[in-house]
């Protein structure tokens, strides 16, 4: 829970530093999804750790030495926000001055993220995809259809208990999905973009599956399609780069996607953000379904043995 509070505080000081895009993503992921996944993990593993059997003095020494060396290295860095720091002199003036003419997008964060530094963002999307693949490899369990029927009967009998939450959720989920679509396509003009939109989409799906049961959610969101969607997102991103290559330019050079370079940039950013949104949504949903599916198995085994 402390990590959730820390995430929300980080989001607020990002807003204070005028970095609204980052604050958006941090609030959605750090204060929302990460807290949820941490709570699910604690449900599965238990609240208290076993007492340590040995005192890790060697590890403490290594950590202290490394931390001391890092602090010593920091002393040479320029002051926070000073004008002649290399971060402010190297490429940042080119991005800030050239963004409007070369790309024509109002939000400089989106233009840097998706166009100037598109290759780094491709790396980020592949990392997210790898995380989803890792969770699938480690945690996915084969489900038998009879288990789902048994869970269904429990689900129906608990309808009375969760009535208020279910009614309010049914009213709210369309608005959440609509807001996610708005954030996805509004990244050019205000805070937004693929990452935030993907997390909000996934939050709507997770809300539904938390209140209506995992079996119902699995019937609504079929697992093979979600896994396919996560791969399609990365594929779309890579394909944009390959199309630029085939048109005779560099990888991910959007100027060549259309006759007018600025229109090509717009098209490139649109497709790339779409790919990011697809992958982030599906990976978050995959991670949550696998975590929660294990919790369900765990609790069903406890109920059978009790």
């Amino acid at each position: 829970m402390l990590s959730g509070i820390y995430g929300l505080l980080s989001a607020s000081f990002f807003v204070t530093l005028d970095a609204v895009d980052v604050a958006f993503t941090e609030a959605a992921v750090g204060a929302g999804i990460a807290t949820l996944l941490m709570l699910v993990t604690v449900t599965m593993t238990g609240r208290y750790e076993h007492s340590a059997r040995h005192k890790p003095i060697g590890a403490l020494a290594v950590v202290l030495v490394t931390g001391g060396l890092l602090l010593y290295g920091i002393l040479d860095m320029p002051y926070f926000g000073s004008i002649d720091a290399p971060a402010h002199l190297h490429v940042a003036p080119r991005y800030i001055n050239g963004s409007m003419q070369e790309i024509g997008v109002i939000n400089i964060v989106t233009s840097v993220l998706a166009s100037y530094r598109g290759f780094d963002t491709l790396g980020e999307v592949v990392v997210i995809f790898t995380a989803g693949v890792g969770v699938l490899a480690l945690l996915s369990a084969v489900r038998r259809p009879e288990e789902d029927v048994e869970i269904d009967s429990v689900n129906v009998s608990m309808h009375e208990k969760y009535l208020i939450l279910r009614v309010v959720t049914k009213i709210l989920i369309p608005f959440i999905l609509l807001f996610a679509l708005y954030v996805q396509f509004h990244g050019d003009y205000g805070p937004g973009g693929g990452f935030q939109a993907g997390v909000i989409f996934a939050a709507a799906i997770i809300l539904y599956s938390m209140l209506f049961g995992m079996s119902t959610a699995r019937r609504v969101i079929s697992q093979p399609i979600i896994q396919l969607l996560s791969a399609i997102g990365v594929l779309v991103y890579g394909s944009v780069g390959v199309v630029s290559l085939l048109n005779g330019g560099n990888f991910l050079d959007y100027n060549l996607l259309s006759d007018d370079p600025v229109a090509g940039q717009h098209l490139g950013i649109l497709l790339v953000e779409l790919g990011i949104g697809c992958t982030v949504t599906s990976v978050m949903v995959i991670i949550f379904f696998n975590f929660a599916g294990r919790t369900e198995d765990h609790m069903r085994n406890e109920r059978k043995s009790a």
């Binding site: 208990k161 208020i164 939450l165 309010v168 009213i171 709210l172 608005f175």
Partner: protein, 114 residues
């Protein structure tokens, strides 16, 4: 006319801030989980609502007004539901309210409807 709008907006903002502050005081001073939830649920919803109404009076232009109205509607929906969910989760984990706890210690029967 303008000064009336500005004055009422300032009044709404002040009332909203005072309500949120009193909710915070309530969290610290109330003795039990359920009373604290009640304090925060009621005062935070109305406090945030008042602050949003005050901001709406300051900016009656089209798009910002609609966005603020949407935020107000969402807050009015989501805050009480979240308080309800928290209280239900506490009851599900067998956290009894203070008076029921004292009854249980004295040995009287406490009926838990859930």
């Amino acid at each position: 006319m303008d000064s009336v709008i500005e004055f009422s907006s300032a009044l709404c903002l002040l009332i909203g801030s005072f309500l949120c502050l009193s909710g915070g005081v309530g969290i610290i001073r109330f003795p039990d989980f359920y009373t604290r939830m009640h304090a925060v649920g009621v005062t935070d919803t109305l406090g945030a609502g008042m602050i949003l109404v005050g901001l709406m009076l300051l900016r009656p232009e089209n798009l910002v007004l609609i966005k603020l109205i949407m935020v107000l509607l969402m807050t009015l929906f989501i805050n009480p539901t979240a308080s309800h969910a928290l209280a239900r989760a506490a009851l599900h984990s067998d956290l009894l309210p203070l008076l029921h706890r004292k009854d249980k210690k004295k040995g009287a029967e406490s009926s838990n409807p859930w």
